[in-house]
């Protein structure tokens, strides 16, 4: 049997398995047939095995370069290094669909295998729900975008990978994005199953939160990595342009972030349940909207419109079906979505959480409407109108800052009712730090209200988080743990979920500072130079030494040889432009001299082919590296929070349930009894 045929068989098997999981799983649940349900469990694992086989076969074909296979022919060639050949798996539509399905199948198998004994009330329904999605993906792979389709003739070389994708970050960003986006399907499935089977919320919040946190971590990292790629590879000096594809990835992140916080509300207070349910479901539905945007090319103003095999419209159908199903479940179970506690005072922790939901949803709504504005305006007025970057910046920045303010206030605001004066008194140090930082920023040349106000609020929020760590450490010291680093460590390791969460807040705030900083006082200079002449930008002096041509396998790069001097330090930079045969524009090889304060970012804009004249575009971008640092901290914080409750005690769900909420529930007898009745 040839390898491509093996891949095809694996896909067929996976499709049949998904059909079994969905159809038979549903039937077994109706009949309450335990043996049949067990067989569905096995089938879910079998689908994962089949799809793993298909992925491995495709990887094998990519690496060995079997150019008779469409996916290999379209996205690789002989000159491509092995790392990029492996990454070419998600370089095109057919490979991407297979990759999506594969990750989903791994999740489903995990739920069936590991989650089944622990969350047995929900999993018999979760697995067929995810099976329905698997059926969709394997159906696409089998009938619409089969990666193992053969190319007519006997090609001996392929087309090659899009040069823009030949970047290290670009080989991490897509899998991280997929892992995150598909991951959001799992908590949505759990949520719907829990509501349908009427599982009490304390049984499902833990598992839903863990899956959401997992997916959210990947989505967050992937968003920043996407920005990093744009910054390194596109050569326009920025990292975010509100491009439809970027927005597509941002939308589910926004609602998923709100959902993570809403789960907290569900667990602690049993409030705003409609918000929680809708946020959870829409996070998943928005991943489908995003896929539709990127795969259908409906928004032609995008640079990345990946058109082609036409898988886009199918995602729209799937989204419609998912939407209808979710609306049905939520409506039929609306009695479960009544709040357990009424909102107390207008100013309380509850109301901060409510505002958080409102602002995240509002940002998502603005981004969604803004992204689809070209389509909407075409439909309504027959005229395609595009909203500029300024629209998105102006609309969302104040709301993001409002969220930062909420984030800072929350630790000082108690449940049920709060006094503003007391909150300010408790946070006088963070406020002082924020105002001092604002003054410093003003002295440093920050002038717009948004920038200065942003620094004040963000540093205040940072101070608030640091204060929480300090308070925890102090409590430990009082209890006898010394010295203070040990006390801090003990506090942070004891309640990883809380202090991991605070660390994630700190990471987010570092990113916010990076965004504010990088939009303030950046310098751009474009200058045409001859060998030996200098360009001065900020405190950098750049000498142009001449042009070099470097030949790589498959492409050629023209590089400008530069010497950069800042104070007593000296570097050599070589920004270049790479020519890949057949591309309209050269791919920029941006030279970046990264630093904590600022990046020196040099693009080779043009040159005289005969002579030695070059045009350089030099940017000084402040604080961009803070965004990357924030991302690393964010990932660490998420892992930290997820590591809460591990070990033997976490094997079974009842034992795995956190002790603290249980103790808390016992402390609230009146409300709790009413709920359990």
């Amino acid at each position: 049997m040839t390898m491509p045929l093996l891949g095809r068989y694996a896909l067929v098997l996976a499709g049949l398995g998904a059909l079994y999981v969905t159809g038979f799983g549903w039937w077994a649940n109706r009949r309450r047939d335990l043996r049949a349900q067990e067989s569905v469990r096995g089938a879910a694992v079998a689908v994962a095995v089949s799809l793993t086989t298909a992925v491995l076969v495709l990887e094998y074909l990519l690496v060995t370069g079997d150019f008779a296979v469409q996916a290999v022919f379209n996205h690789t060639n002989r000159a491509l290094p092995i790392g990029y050949r492996m990454a070419a798996l998600w370089g095109g539509d057919s490979g991407s669909v297979l990759f999506w399905g594969w990750i989903l199948s791994l999740y489903t198998a995990w739920v069936a295998w590991r989650g089944w004994p622990r969350e047995g009330q929900m999993t018999p329904m979760v697995v067929p729900l995810l099976g329905g999605l698997l059926l969709f993906f394997t159906g696409l792979s089998n009938f619409v975008a089969n990666p193992f389709r053969l190319v007519p003739g006997h090609p001996t070389d392929g087309s090659g990978l899009d040069p823009l994708l030949q970047n290290v970050v670009m080989s991490i960003h897509p899998p991280a994005m997929y892992t995150g986006l598909i991951g959001l399907a799992v908590p949505a499935a759990y949520l719907l199953a829990a509501l349908w089977v009427r599982v009490p919320s304390r049984e499902w919040t833990a598992v839903v939160r863990r899956w959401t946190l997992w997916a959210w971590m990947f989505c967050s990292a992937a968003l920043v990595l996407g920005g990093m790629w744009a910054y390194m590879e596109l050569g326009w000096g920025g990292y975010w342009e509100w491009d439809p594809v970027e927005n597509a990835a941002l939308l589910p992140w926004l609602t998923a972030t709100a959902f993570l916080h809403a789960l907290q509300m569900e667990e602690r207070r049993g409030m705003f349940r409609w918000w929680t349910a809708i946020l959870g479901v829409s996070s998943f539905l928005l991943t489908l909207v995003g896929t539709y945007i990127t795969r259908s090319g409906v928004l032609k103003n995008s640079v990345h419109a990946f058109t082609g095999t036409g898988v886009g419209p199918y995602f729209l159908i799937l989204m419609g079906a998912g939407f209808a199903y979710a609306v049905g479940v939520l409506w039929l179970r609306r009695d479960l979505l009544r709040d357990r506690i009424e909102l107390g005072d207008t100013f309380s922790k509850e109301s901060l959480y409510l505002l958080l939901n409102v602002f995240f949803t509002a940002i998502a709504a603005v981004v969604l409407v803004g992204t689809f504005y070209p389509v909407l305006s075409q439909a309504l007025w027959g005229q395609t109108v595009v909203l500029s970057v300024h629209f998105f910046n102006r609309m969302t920045a104040p709301m993001f800052l409002a969220l930062v303010l909420l984030l800072g206030l929350a630790p000082a605001v108690p449940w049920y009712n709060a006094r503003l004066r007391e909150a300010v008194r408790r946070q006088r140090w963070p406020w002082a730090a924020g105002l001092a930082a604002g003054a410093l920023a003003w002295a440093d040349g920050f002038r717009t209200g948004l920038a200065v106000g942003g620094v004040v609020v963000t540093v205040f929020a940072l101070g608030s988080m640091v204060q929480e760590y300090a308070r925890a450490a102090q409590a430990r010291i009082r209890a006898g743990t010394r010295p203070w680093p040990r006390a801090l460590w003990a506090a942070a390791t004891q309640n990883r979920r809380r202090y991991g969460g605070y660390l994630a807040h700190i990471a987010f705030l570092i990113i916010v500072l990076g965004v504010i900083g990088s939009h303030t006082n950046n310098v751009t200079v474009t200058q045409t130079v001859q060998p030996g002449s200098w360009v001065s930008v900020a405190d950098y002096r750049i000498r142009f030494n001449g042009l070099d041509v470097v030949t790589h396998p498959g492409y050629q790069t023209t590089e400008a040889n530069l010497t950069v001097i800042q104070g007593s330090r000296q570097w050599t930079l070589a920004p270049g432009a790479s020519f890949f045969p057949g591309t309209a524009q050269p791919v920029a090889d941006v030279a970046i001299l990264g630093g904590l304060n600022q990046d020196l970012y040099v693009v080779l804009e043009g040159w005289d082919p005969g002579g030695q004249i070059a045009t350089l575009e030099v940017f000084v971008n402040p604080m961009v590296s803070w965004i990357w640092i924030g991302m690393y901290v964010l990932v660490a914080a998420s892992l930290w929070a997820m590591s809460h409750r591990t070990g033997p005690a976490a094997e079974v769900v009842t034992a795995a349930e956190p002790r603290a909420p249980l103790a808390w529930r016992r402390a609230q007898p009146l409300l709790e009894r009413g709920d359990q009745a």
């Binding site: 150019f67 469409q70 022919f73 379209n74 996205h75 370089g91 095109g92 539509d93 007519p152 003739g153 090609p155 070389d157 392929g158 087309s159 090659g160 990978l161 899009d162 050569g235 032609k300 103003n301 640079v303 990345h304 419109a305 990946f306 082609g308 909102l343 207008t346 409102v358 509002a362 709504a365 603005v366 409407v369 504005y373 070209p374 395609t384 109108v385 595009v386 909203l387 500029s388 300024h390 629209f391 102006r394 474009t526 045409t528 432009a577 045969p581 057949g582 591309t583 309209a584 524009q585 050269p586 693009v603 080779l604 804009e605 043009g606 040159w607 005289d608 082919p609 004249i613 045009t615």
Partner: protein, 134 residues
């Protein structure tokens, strides 16, 4: 006023304010997005505006002046053409017709001065010299 009513009024105010700023913003930060043909036929409507024009970048028309790093080319669409001038990096020698979007405005000489040039990445990358055409 009851708490519930107060909440609902508050929510209505927030939603209303949001809708207002979005619509207001949408009016201030818009750009028309038209094809070369639309731009040519309804030019009077778009005169003096910064907008985006979509068309095909004609490979044979590309001319690059390295001294001023100015790129000149013709954008084609439905039989209409638009001369474009753009300050930016030099294109490759082996250049294929490519779908592109330019953002800018017409100058007095009837040349479209682009501040931004976006050449679309194709579905899959196809080099000009590939011998094994699928």
């Amino acid at each position: 006023m009851s708490k519930k009513l107060r909440l609902q009024v508050g929510a209505a105010v927030i939603v209303g304010a949001l809708a207002f700023i979005v619509l207001h913003g949408a009016n201030r930060f818009t750009q028309y997005f038209v094809s070369v043909q639309q731009y040519r036929t309804h030019y009077a409507q778009y005169r003096g505006q910064v907008l985006r024009v979509e068309g095909t970048m004609l490979a044979s028309s590309v001319h690059y002046n390295s001294a001023t790093s100015t790129l000149r080319f013709t954008l084609m669409g439905d039989g209409q053409s638009l001369p474009v001038e753009y300050q930016g990096p030099m294109p490759s020698e082996q250049f294929q017709n490519a779908d592109a979007i330019v953002e800018g405005q017409m100058n007095a000489q009837g040349v479209f001065v682009a501040q931004k040039l976006m050449v679309k990445c194709p579905d899959h990358y196809t080099p000009a010299t590939s011998a094994a055409a699928g």
